[in-house]
Amino acid sequence: MQTIEIRHLWREYDDLVAIEDLSLTIEKGNVFALIGPNGAGKTTLLKILSSVLEPTYGECFINGEKVHPTNNKLLSIIGFLPDFYGLYDDLKVYEYLEFFGRSYNIKQPANRVKDVLEIVNLTYKKDELICTLSRGMKQRLGIAKTILHDPEVLFLDEPASGLDPKARIELRHTIKNLRDLGKTMIISSHVLTELSDFCNSFGIMEKGKIIKTEIIRKEEKIHHIIINVLVGLDILQNILTKHAKIENLHIKGNQINFDFKGTLDELSKFHKDLTESAAQIIEFFIKKQDIEDLFLQYTSGQEE
């Protein structure tokens, strides 16, 4: 089932084309990572999807609802955390969330506020004025506000910006929890490694276009393997060239590089076969290829 559908989207700022003829569909329950250099159009795309910005051309649908500021049904099923946003400094944390709780017509907003404060680990700060919070706490408050009305679809623009390493880990847990609850999410981030853990698909944006979309399959993926051999290089070479799941084999000195395409079980079995052969292996390790590698593979990596 398609939750988010984007059809031929264009957005221009005067003569600058921020998004150019972008079409995309994201299925329900997917966590879609939006990656790309600065100025690629990620923020613009998220703003259009959350009805904050008007597209120059094209349409977007979320759960079959057309994205438009007058569509109240749509507004109640989406949550948007922009990269830059203002909070009301002279309100207390719970007052701020209660304001949105009442505005979203949540029954018993106080209980829901309590719940979301626990999710983002800010309960101990609920009676504090927002102006006294640190940058990371404010970001967590922003996330709490975004998930307050229990939206089905979430758009998070650079959610980890300004967070310290501990807060980033907590954020990762929060997003994983939301994913497990079946929320559909689009997350844009510069810190690509942090997306790898919880995203099941990603899109690389460059110059207003999505140049690559890919589903990250946990069950079968390409593992980049490096082996260092002491004795029996020729034996190993013989095994590897005959193996059906091996691609891109390179040998340099005593080091062998190759890609193994298969599940973790198959990889484990393959590893056992190698160790049982006559060759003496001193090192066998998997070079983790994450979104960052894919991003560099498909883009120039330069800022626009």
């Binding site: 005067d14 904050v52 051309y57 109240n72």
Partner: protein, 474 residues
């Protein structure tokens, strides 16, 4: 749950604004300064009567009341308006407005929340001194009628200005712009309504009457005799409601312009309704001595001001026009030209019909040839102006375009001496053309036609260029 929650729980925006505004140290200090000021006024007034053998309490109360009323007037009109003008524009600058746009609530909640919550310090200050005002009223012998009129005008006048401030805040990208626009609007309104014929709209006049125990006059409107404050309040409500619909429209659909065609036309109808009401009555001070020619000129002027305001308020950027071109797949140039002229033609039809009704009502016109000339000039001029406004928007640069349109509008309404060569392009010279010779009228029409031809040429070529550019891209 706090007391505030229980009282204002149904309007979260109001609750939020009350909390935000009352919690700051500045708010507390402002209220304190206000109280100290009022106490000082009371003490100083007391000192002024120290030489009297018997303390004249009634006179003392009269003086104290007049000063307090003046201060209340200033605070509620100016300070309150400035506070409201910052509301939406400040949220826009701080980046919290997007969250408000995204709330799936009736946007009247936001509007009432802002209007009642943002100037809460003003309301608190007024409420604190109201018992003193009432005491002074009882003791001093000031007329209860005058007292009630003053406070009614204070309430309705304040709301008119607050709504204007909220509108200024809605259209301004920065709160400093909203402040300036609000103050400019209020000052112009007050100066404009010092005109004897419009004095009934000026809240300051009622303050003066309260001080001098002046007589409150009445005005005939549609043959009915209205007390001036009542008529003023009716007009305040009409204009307030009109502005509120614009604000509501923007908060509901921020993709669209603040005012759309319907709202501009409704404003035109409101103006017609008001002016007709005065002309129809025939006995008001406003219509006394007006010539038929002047009536027609006035209509032309209103229509031109409306076209100006339509152009200005819809001064949508280059991006918006490109959006429009994008969304129409045929991308035929005549389709777009038709779109631009549609609004102008609609305005003209309303204008012509209403003018004809006017002429019919007043039983013929003494100079029919002048009417034809004026219609021609007006029609050509409207085309020039309308095309010029949209022409500016065919180039990138939103803010610069607004400034250019503003300068253009101001330059047109500055009265230029009739003898100068520029007169054909000044719509206000229409007021003078009633007595102009046919030669001058022909010069005027010819030069306007030449200008129209030049602007149309530039407009056509630029639009064609843009359409071709988009065609090649798609």
């Amino acid at each position: 749950m706090t007391n505030l929650d229980m009282i204002f729980g149904n309007n979260p925006e109001l609750l939020k604004n009350i909390r935000l505004r009352l919690r700051t140290k500045v708010a507390k200090a402002s209220i304190l300064i206000y109280i100290i000021f009022i106490i000082s006024v009371c003490l100083l007034s007391f000192y002024g009567f120290k030489d009297y053998p018997v303390f004249p309490l009634d006179k003392y109360c009269q003086i104290t009341f007049t000063i307090i009323a003046g201060v209340q007037f200033l605070i509620s009109f100016f300070i309150g308006s400035i506070m409201v003008s910052e509301s939406i524009a400040m949220e826009r600058e701080k980046g919290s407005l997007d969250f408000l746009y995204m709330l799936p609530i009736n946007k009247w909640v936001l509007i009432t929340g802002k209007l009642l919550g943002v100037p809460i310090i003003v309301y608190v200050s007024l409420a604190l001194t109201l018992p003193l005002s009432i005491y002074c009223l009882i003791v001093s012998g000031i007329s209860l009628y005058g007292f009630c009129i003053f406070y009614l005008m204070l309430i309705f006048g304040s709301f008119l200005f607050y709504i204007w401030a909220l509108l200024a805040s809605t259209v301004s990208p920065k709160y400093s712009w909203a402040n300036s626009l609000t103050l400019l609007g209020i000052i112009l309104f007050i100066i404009f309504t010092f005109n004897p014929s419009l004095q009934f709209l000026n809240p300051l006049v009622y303050l003066g009457k309260l001080w001098n125990n002046g007589i409150i006059e009445s005005t005939v409107f549609y043959g009915l005799k209205f007390y001036n404050p009542l008529l003023a309040i009716i007009f305040y409500i009409i204009f307030s409601f009109w502005m509120l619909t614009g604000i509501k429209h923007h908060l509901t659909n921020h993709w669209d312009t603040v005012f759309n065609k319907k709202q501009i036309i409704s404003l035109f109808i409101i103006f017609l309704f008001i002016f007709w009401g005065f002309y129809n009555s025939g006995a008001s001070t406003y219509t006394a001595g007006l010539m038929e020619n002047y009536k027609l000129n006035l209509l032309f002027t209103i229509a031109l001001i409306l076209i100006t305001s339509f152009g200005f308020l819809n001064n949508e950027s280059y991006t918006k026009i490109r959006t429009f071109i994008f969304n129409n797949k045929e991308r035929d140039i005549f389709f777009f030209i038709k779109h631009y002229l549609e609004t102008l033609i609609l305005l003209l039809i309303i204008f012509i019909v209403s003018t004809l009704i006017f002429i019919a009502f007043f039983g013929g016109y003494k100079q029919p040839d002048v009417i034809i000339y004026k219609f021609l000039i007006f029609f050509i001029f409207s085309l020039i102006y309308f095309l010029a406004i949209y022409l500016i928007n065919l180039w990138p640069g939103k803010n610069q375009n607004s400034i250019i349109v503003g300068i253009f509008a101001v330059s047109l309404i500055i009265p230029i001496p009739f003898e100068t060569l520029i007169f054909p392009f000044n719509p206000f010279d229409l007021l003078l053309l009633g007595s102009a010779s046919p030669t001058k009228l022909i010069i005027c029409i010819t030069s306007d036609l030449i200008l129209l031809f030049v602007i149309s040429g530039i407009f056509y070529s630029r639009l064609k260029f843009l359409i071709n550019k988009i065609k090649t891209k798609c």
